[in-house]
Symmetry: C2
Subunit: 410 residues, 2 copies
């Protein structure tokens, strides 16, 4: 028998407890020994549960109990999770977590402490909820050099954008619906401003490219500026707008890391990822694109990923070391480089006829796709592929107009 402690009894924590207790037969069969939930740490009281006797309020009970071999940290937030996890690892306990904020901020350090103490620090649930992604990326794609990771990393924003695309809802109504359905928090900032996706980009980039990327190094833009007009205009070009998190390896060894609304062609596999689903596309030099898809959040999905990590720790109480990366550095993330791409642009001016003339004189008439609308006094187009600096130089000539640009994956 192996003793397990759970720190936190919120949505994910209660899911972990329920799976470990209700599905103990299945788990014992696979691990070859029973897993016993010895403690659940939470400051709140939970009476009337079949396992109410397991609750404790003092972290030191877990820390000082040498029988506890595996600890699940599902409290969320960097503090006090960081101190608790560090102490557990140093005490020779393996730790698993679903806490993306913690891993994005302190992953490299915690992995190193785990290695020094010959225990495991696993965090499959921190990216993509129940979608297997971190382990496959490291183990199965081991023979590859990973060159690019991009994906739909936040279910809440994908749900909102999807409602705008499919049901012509405006942003506010779609956000309200997401809140009513429990997909978005009352304070939705972490989701709609891209911070949640940003943390996942950090973890994916760190694992894929071997060096820590910190949240503040990721250029992060949310979906709050995306209007129904944008969505409809994108549709005219056979595209949908998705919030895409992306990290790329550059030839000089540095990386770029972004979270931003992005036009995706309807032919692209990511365009079919609807509702609260997530999908992560990984490009390896040998294997090409592979994609991992599933529910990126939700109690059962996330909890089952935490339990799978607990089971892995229980089967291998000594360190497995397959997840690891180096510390980051200041100049490692190079978001200021001048990348080539195509930009989606909406130009609007009351002086419409003059706008049309100027547009053609600056951008030409051929080699790209544009739509002119004299009623809305707007020109919408997707530029030719070019360096962003060149495109911006051209756009500077429209300072007196309304100009809106969105990145593309075209």
């Amino acid at each position: 028998m192996i003793n397990v402690a759970i720190m936190g009894h919120g949505v994910v924590g209660s899911g972990v407890a329920e799976i470990l207790i209700n599905h103990s037969d299945r788990i014992t069969e696979k691990v070859k020994t029973p897993l016993n939930v010895k403690y659940i740490l939470d400051l709140r009281d939970f009476d009337g549960l079949s396992y109410s006797d397991k609750f404790i309020k003092d972290f030191n009970i877990i820390l000082n109990d040498s029988e506890v071999k595996v600890v699940a940290e599902v409290m969320g937030g960097v503090n006090p999770a960081y101190d608790f996890v560090k102490s557990c690892l140093k005490a020779g306990k393996s730790v698993v977590t679903s806490n993306k904020e913690l891993v994005a901020a302190k992953g490299a350090e915690l992995i190193k402490i785990a290695e020094e103490n010959n225990v495991n620090f696993l965090f499959e649930a921190s990216v993509g909820g129940g979608i297997p992604i971190l382990r496959p990326m490291v183990q199965c794609l081991a023979a590859n050099e990973i060159t690019e990771i991009s994906g739909i990393l936040n279910g809440t924003t994908n749900y909102i954008l999807n409602k705008m695309i499919v049901d012509n809802m405006d942003f506010d109504s779609a956000l309200k619906l997401a809140q009513d359905k429990g997909y978005a928090e009352k304070n939705p900032a972490a989701d709609i401003e891209g911070h949640d996706a940003c943390r996942k980009v950090c973890i994916l980039a760190a694992l894929g490219f071997g060096k820590h990327v910190y949240p503040e190094q990721v250029k992060t833009e949310g979906i709050t500026d995306i209007t129904l007009d944008d969505v409809e205009a994108a549709d005219t070009f056979g595209c949908v707008i998705k919030l895409i998190g992306q990290a790329k390896k550059l030839a000089d060894g540095r990386v770029t890391a972004h979270v931003r609304p992005t036009l995706v062609s309807r032919d692209h596999i990511l365009s079919g990822v609807n509702g609260v689903f997530n999908a992560i596309l990984v490009n390896g030099d040998q294997t090409g694109d592979v994609m991992f898809y599933g529910k990126g959040a939700g109690k059962e999905a996330t909890a089952s990923a935490v339990v799978a990590d607990i089971m892995d720790c229980a089967k291998h109480l000594e360190a497995r070391k397959y997840l690891s990366w180096e510390d980051g550095s200041d100049n490692y993330v190079a978001n200021d480089i001048d990348e080539k791409g195509k930009l989606f642009v909406r130009l609007k001016s009351d002086n419409y006829d003059e706008l049309v003339t100027r547009f053609h004189s600056v951008f030409g008439t051929e080699g790209f796709h544009y739509v002119k609308n004299q009623f809305t006094k707007e020109i919408t187009f997707i530029t030719e592929e070019d360096f962003e600096s060149n495109i911006n130089k051209k756009l500077a000539e429209f300072k007196d107009c309304q100009v809106k640009t969105i990145h593309t994956m075209l």
Copy 2:
């Protein structure tokens, strides 16, 4: 340094040799020790390669060399691969293979022999080429009870169907194009008759549900009867036709296993899997649907999966035992049960007016979607959800007409 032997120098085998030799730096860094290709077994001569000195024609050289710790079997076919793999495992060598025919026919037995000899038998490349699927299914979804696995498991047939859907090509032209492009073999039977997908269903079902399913137990139907008319008719209903391999767990512990052309809604994530790509959807009771997507074949993709398995063996020279299943049995696969579903039906008769009357009197007029075409004298429809026996009883009343049915995932 760990010595490796490669058996077979065809498409995949040469890819494995090239990755191991050309990317040895990357591999050494990850494995923490160099991997040395000591022998390549092939009956043919390969002169002029940088590694021509490694070729041998006698299997016993590998078998009797105790320095060889890991053997990659990439010859294909059951014989002599089966004898070679068995001998290697018994001699204490770990074996990795991309040979789906071998694993589908002899997987349970070879896993057992590997366990008895405390070595690994890994075969990630046997399903989905470079797509990580077997390991994630077993490790990451460990806390789940897997209830259903379905997917597009053969790139050749998906390419052909895609050409029919997108470019209105007929079956023969699409097959010819696939052959010209090297996606289909000169003798395409294994692909277009569904046998290749059938073997993958066997392996997925065995891993997912824990018991061997043999190829002859899978109800297998290819795409040779699918016409451009079928594809166009499906389109009218917002669907595409895909060759779907599927295994389901029944409440009584038995399973069903099929490969067959299937109508998939354009809203379904599998409908967006185009060209030679594969995708496997796994349903777990906790995590819901997760999907794995990527190139299902091709030299580099498949070879990189073989190399990842070699690296895993090299890192863990003793058995890891996470891949395992029991022997199958006669009555384990229950394809004869009466399942509920919706069927796509095309009815045609020269006596069109009478057909319309009879159709409505048998199937009714409401609650399902139908299209009547007096010019082609055809009625196309998707039945209400019902037991297959009930639907077939109704269809028996149209014996004098042309009747074509296709299963659906609706």
